[in-house]
């Protein structure tokens, strides 16, 4: 059994966006803080730190989930994908490109989380209905867009031309 004392900083190694990285964390450090302030991956945002807003959503071991409700020490050895891991070089993913075309983001603060959820969601359900898309989006709060253009961007990617 691994045991870490409250004030002990331990090394946490994990694969992030295809690279082995490591940083140090006390047990209480949120994964969201670890990604941002230890690994300097500022693309993941924090909007509530109590699991409601979805801004911090990342993919951990293939599943989109809240990084503010996870502690970095729990993730030693995990495989994580963040928004920085989507585009390849200058090429946006089709989803990112659709967000741009449809004006699916305004301030962009919620966007990273929504992209991570949607990417995982579409991998499981490539041809969702609009209701399914809205159901998936209900785990996110966006205060800028009213969601309309987000939905149309996702439907466009899933169904083409939609």
């Amino acid at each position: 059994m691994i045991r870490v004392k409250p004030d002990e900083r331990v090394r946490v190694s994990l694969v992030v966006n295809g690279r082995w990285l490591f940083g140090h964390a006390e047990p209480r450090m949120l994964l969201s803080d670890f990604l941002r302030h230890e690994l300097k991956l500022f693309g993941t945002h924090v909007g509530c730190e109590h699991g409601v807003c979805g801004a911090c959503t990342v993919e951990i071991d293939g599943r989109a989930t809240r990084s503010c409700l996870r502690y970095a020490v729990q993730c030693d050895g995990a495989t994580i994908r963040t928004v920085e891991g989507l585009a390849v070089g200058d090429t946006l993913t089709p989803l990112q490109a659709a967000f741009n075309r449809h004006h699916a983001l305004q301030c962009g603060f919620c966007t990273a989380g929504i992209l991570m959820s949607t990417t995982a969601f579409l991998a499981e359900n490539p041809k969702p209905t609009e209701a399914e898309v809205r159901d998936m989006l209900s785990g996110h709060i966006c205060r800028c867009t009213g969601y309309e253009q987000i939905v149309s961007a996702i439907m466009d990617v899933a169904h083409g031309g939609g």
């Binding site: 059994m1 691994i2 045991r3 870490v4 004392k5 409250p6 004030d7 006390e26 047990p27 209480r28 949120l30 803080d33 730190e49 109590h50 699991g51 979805g54 959503t57 951990i60 599943r63 989109a64 989930t65 809240r66 503010c68 409700l69 996870r70 502690y71 020490v73 729990q74 959820s117 995982a120 969601f121 809205r134 159901d135 998936m136 209900s138 785990g139 996110h140």
Partner: protein, 289 residues
């Protein structure tokens, strides 16, 4: 909004976990999905000396059907349960309840066991367990006990789990013949905690009368409750019976109040949602009978 300093222990086996619980007792908080505990930790409402992580304990994520019971390990994720064919075919009530649990991004990590251990009065999984008459399997050093769901939930966030016990599994009675399972809820927003949730297992015998009926209510009292319905057996399973049962249930509950709903409204939801869910279930059952 950061947690108090806590220690961390990652158990590799159930034995390790219960040894630690024996040692730390109420100073330890067990983390599975962390969907409820994480928020309370971050807000410093919960201040454990140590967080016990059971996520890497092998064998706690299994779903096994045997002897009329489906046993789900404490770590079965909500999304996996939803996709599991055994759950779909043997525990349809749970399968009906799961889409109402949280959101896509929380079901991916949230566990069945964690939801039951947390005991939110509005939570769907505890309601399904209570309605079906399932049980909670708890292990402590040197002993294992099964607590019927009806005795497990004591009140808001309060259960019969002792400090040194680990919730290792849930037991779900498998579907009964001629029985229709139905679940619905009313929440202010999509995916919110239910203001009222209704779970039904209704058996209709071939002559169209009601056999066994289980009616569970969530979000109404400080824990999921089952309404006594034995007296209705033998009556014609139709809309008017649904109405009578729902009225009866509404008259018996002692609703909680919060920002979202007062007691009168909750009682009203028992009446209307109860009637709707029961009537639909009866109709389905009669069709199948």
């Amino acid at each position: 909004m950061k947690p108090v300093a806590f220690g961390y222990a990652r158990a590799e086996t159930v034995e390790e976990a219960i040894d630690l619980l024996a040692e730390e007792g109420r100073e330890a908080s067990v983390i599975a999905g962390g969907l409820s505990l994480g928020a309370m930790l971050n807000m410093r409402l919960v201040r454990p000396r140590i967080v016990l992580d059971i996520n890497r304990v092998p064998g706690l994520d299994t779903i096994v059907a045997a002897n009329g019971v489906v046993t789900t390990g404490a770590l079965v994720r909500q999304v996996d349960a939803f996709r599991d064919p055994t759950i779909a075919s043997h525990v349809p009530l749970l399968a009906h309840a799961l889409p109402h649990v949280g959101h896509y991004q929380t079901r991916s990590r949230g566990t069945l066991g964690g939801s039951v251990a947390h005991a939110d009065p509005s939570a769907e999984i505890p309601l399904a367990l209570v309605t079906l008459g399932g049980a909670v399997v708890l292990r402590a050093k040197g002993r294992t006990r099964r607590v019927p769901a009806a005795d497990f939930f004591l009140g808001v966030l309060t259960t019969a789990r002792e400090e040194n016990e680990l919730l290792v599994a849930l037991e779900w009675p498998t579907r009964r013949p001629r029985t229709v399972y139905a679940f619905d809820e009313i929440a202010q927003r999509h995916g919110d905690f239910a203001i009222a949730a209704v779970a039904v297992a209704a058996e209709v015998v071939p002559d169209g009368t009601l056999g066994h009926l289980a009616l569970g209510l969530g979000g109404i009292e400080d824990r999921p409750i089952r309404i006594e319905t034995a007296g209705y057996a033998g009556r014609r399973a139709d809309a008017s019976l649904a109405e009578a049962i729902a009225e009866d249930a509404a008259s018996r509950v002692v609703p909680i109040v919060d920002l979202q709903a007062n007691a009168d409204y909750r009682r009203q939801l028992v009446r209307v949602l109860g009637r709707r869910v029961l009537a639909a279930a009866f109709e389905d059952a009669v069709r199948g009978a």
